[in-house]
Amino acid sequence: MSNSSKGFIETDNTQQPTGSRAPLVLNMHKFGEVTHQVCRIAENRPPMAWYIAFVICLGMMGFLGFCVTYLIFTGVGVWGLNNPVMWAYDITNFVFWVGIGHAGTLISAILFLFRQKWRTGINRFAEAMTIFAVVCAGLFPGIHVGRVWLAYWLFPIPNSMEMWPQFRSPLLWDVFAVSTYFTVSLVFWYVGMIPDLATLRDRAKGRFQQFAYGLASIGWRGSMRHWHRYEVAYLLLAALATPLVLSVHSVVSFDFAVSQVPGWHTTIFPPYFVAGAIFSGFAMVVSLAVPARQLFGLKDLITMRHLDNMNKIILLTGCMVGYAYSMEFFIAWYSGAMYEKFAFVNRAFGQYWWAYWIMVSCNVITPQLFWFKAVRTSIPLMFILSIFVNVGMWFERFVIIVTSLANDFLPSSWDQFVPTWVDIGTMVGAFGLFGTLFLLFCRYLPMIAIAEVKAVMPEANPHVGHAGHAGSDHDDHGIPSGAVPALREPRSSEDSL
């Protein structure tokens, strides 16, 4: 078994010597080792930290249940909403969580289309993160409608009232976009997981585990004829999920951009929201990956190279978000519209100035530290910076939503939004819901795409070695663990993408 996964020494595989591929799996040369590394998490009792985290998350989720019940039985007045500020924490949390989800789809779909093989180490739990984030996101519009029991009016269900939704409204587009996004993400995640569930089934000792994993893996037996159609279907899903993920946050941004409110009515919103979503999502992936790889000993599969790549994406999207912030200001001035100009000056220097500057510091200034490789490859620093980004991106949505509404056209109707304990409890509780689902996923499901990781190992290339070359010979390469094995396998012409 690997040595580095137990120690604290990080192997630096961020360098890629000319003419070869940097290894994506460290210290493992046999397929069975990868299987064991991942499956043992689901097969053995989790570490103590898992139980502690689970109890905390469960408690937070319980409080969410209490807040939501209280809201439904009393009414949306228990939130701090007032006449101009009719959307606040609810929609902030909705946009925040939908945005978090986007990184999972980006990793699973867009990086797949670009043949970025490093995605295989992180795609499974990033996809899980997407689904749980969308669950949290879906909660907020569901409960903010007031009469929750009439929420089904959002869907065009044939009814004897002869009543239909208004399809010209971006709010309805949102219903379709988010529900499609959830369905497609769930299907994508599950389809990707079937071969790994079959692995768990075939290793399962207990009768119940055999039955449960057997049912979930729907009789998968690795047939190449199945794999052939499976790979085509997976490619199609990736190709469908890519425009979908771009459309979802664009549609979310239409909720604002299509309205007349100064500060919302801007054409930059769709790309700006999508960049922000990917930015926050990658930060969340780093925030989850850093403790998870430590806790479950997955440093050989989620290597420093994976983290370094993600930090580069955070840096890139952070710059895009910074560009959008400044371009908003420029257009507000350049448009010559006084309400627009006021909205932006008010954002930075008005009653919510502190929220604006938290947003700018966390989203634009601190991610610039990722220009330095020492920061990109430092576990504590990247963890802190990723938390900063999560905070900053929550404030970005808060700033956009609340500052624009609080001070609109008529000064006589201006007001200030102050959150109540129910607002804050629901927000914190949503993190509990997310954490609970994520911890259950880590415990019972394959956290890493085992089959996909095997397929990117140099050993998986059928053109390396010759027929009759026994698998046991692979042990004789004599690469000491911890050494850079990058030079071990020459880049083959077929895999040069």
Partner: protein, 208 residues
Amino acid sequence: MTTFSPQTQTSSPSPSPKSSLLPLYGMMAEFETPAQIMEAAKKVNAAGYRFWDCHVPFPVHGLDKAMGIKRTILPLLVFGAGMTGTIVGFCLQAFTNAASFSIWALVWVTGYPFLISGKPLMSVPAWIPIIFELTILLSALSAVGLMFLMNGLPRLSHPLLSNIRFRRATDDRFFIVIESRDPKFLRSKTEAFMKTLGAKHIEVVEDR
């Protein structure tokens, strides 16, 4: 490498006398590396077998071609499903927001000409997002649904899944299975043929 491998062992279903009464599902050969199964698959394909398969823990690049698998028509079917989604999305919105006649959709329902701010009833640009989402939804669901259907999944049991040795097919071993229903299958001849493939192990699979 075509020579007979000396390590190759064959275990017939003799260990338990009861099992020999069971009908035969096929013969299974076990390999240790992708390169080995690739070579072997080419030979099985060349030998003219039709009901045979490779079982591998991950899709081995190029193995489908070596096996002579024709490219699936799945993308075409998915395209059809996607177009259905497009049409459904358009008709749904045109009917519910611009029509005034009744149709039967589980109950008799009537469209409602939704007039807002004097905008045209057929506001096609405003319908694009939902048309798009329904196109994606139907394509994605049909891609997965049809893939399952064409693969004969889900299924609750399979003769191969009862084989203890086969469990490593989802871990680190590569298997070639020739089914007994193949017209060319003859237990003695197929076993002799499989021994020429350089497998680590050859075994009879019962149909249980």
